[in-house]
Symmetry: D2
Subunit: 134 residues, 4 copies
Amino acid sequence: MERVERIGVSLDRKLLSMFDKLIAKKGYQNRSEAIRNLIRQQLSTESLSNPRTSAIAAVFLVYDHHSTKLMQKLIDLQHSHLLQTISSLHIHLDEHDCMEIIVLRGRVDEINKTAENILSLKGVKLGRVNLAPA
Amino acid sequence: MERVERIGVSLDRKLLSMFDKLIAKKGYQNRSEAIRNLIRQQLSTESLSNPRTSAIAAVFLVYDHHSTKLMQKLIDLQHSHLLQTISSLHIHLDEHDCMEIIVLRGRVDEINKTAENILSLKGVKLGRVNLAPA
Amino acid sequence: MERVERIGVSLDRKLLSMFDKLIAKKGYQNRSEAIRNLIRQQLSTESLSNPRTSAIAAVFLVYDHHSTKLMQKLIDLQHSHLLQTISSLHIHLDEHDCMEIIVLRGRVDEINKTAENILSLKGVKLGRVNLAPA
Amino acid sequence: MERVERIGVSLDRKLLSMFDKLIAKKGYQNRSEAIRNLIRQQLSTESLSNPRTSAIAAVFLVYDHHSTKLMQKLIDLQHSHLLQTISSLHIHLDEHDCMEIIVLRGRVDEINKTAENILSLKGVKLGRVNLAPA
């Protein structure tokens, strides 16, 4: 079991009152829980700004499945040794287009480099990378 | 079979030469294919700026699975009558955190409204919505 | 002078230790100051998700100044009654292109609507809206 | 005077008809003008993905001006030898907060690195970097 510490925080009455309204709206049980969540979010964001952080990414793509080279590249990506593919989800949109979501692990810089390569391929209509520290 | 039209486009020699280099790098077979892709991308982006467009969205979330209310809300979302959930992907990150990707269809404004509700819930550490016209 | 309150926050030793490292790196004097800043950021983000919030926006544009209609539209915008232009900054990039940053006040929804109109105008090469609650 | 070339583009009748509607809405005079603009936008985006591209950036910041170290860091930035500051715009928001927009030139990677440093400083509430190729 983890040791719990208790710290004191001083803040203006007005700021506290606005914060209390927000945490009630969001459904937090108490201020500690809400502040812990803020701290965890900040640590996440901070760690992703380091290119060598281990991260997990969901690469979101819409592409024309007639671009056969693209499908090959996506498969190559999923077998690359730098990145470890965990899972992927393929959705048929219409006679031309597919949506594909590829979840992979790797370093932030390697994920971004690979994603840039994919998103600039012919046939890709939309693409985005969603990152979380792993 | 669809009817194909042929149009003429005039552009500076310098711009054309930069474009030719780019399409070679990306692997397009010819200028028509590259320009068709640009036009399709612009039509996609444009249509998503209309709140009433039918869209498909991948909602990307990292959350603490001890926040039981959140899991209930996510399930409620997937059974809401406004949005039609197609698929979802759940990945166990560590003892606290899960990544969840929910693919759903609906109007752009309804997707955004729901996503905002989810992303502001307690326990959500990271979240983003990826949209494509459906 | 504003009344200051003091609240207690409990958190795991490990989370506290990571937070302490982060606030030292960023140069905060103490935990209270860092937590107040986190709370203020969250209140800012939250308030911008309400379309009726009063906001201040920096609209960032790169455009071809030969598109004379665009310049007229930008001037019209700056004299619109819904939005109040505070300031603008115009930078000559090269023989074709200008960068323009327009700072304006208004409701979030009005700012976004106007920005969308501008960014879809002919001649606009790049554009983005940066929002802050006012 | 630049030499103008004329190329042919083939596309489905349906795609052409949707494109024609879009360019009428945006106010382009003809298809060539609209396609040239699409090509220029793609070249811009592409060039910004290269970390060594020369770029111009508008760094957008909201901060508490009582954080005196921050103001010093911003001034240091504007006198750094890697980045060349062109202009900056300072707006008083309220008794606590300022908005500052700093326009600078430099390589994409240097701009991003500096921006990351600034945005992680204590006292910064909101921040974003807007990039354009120079």
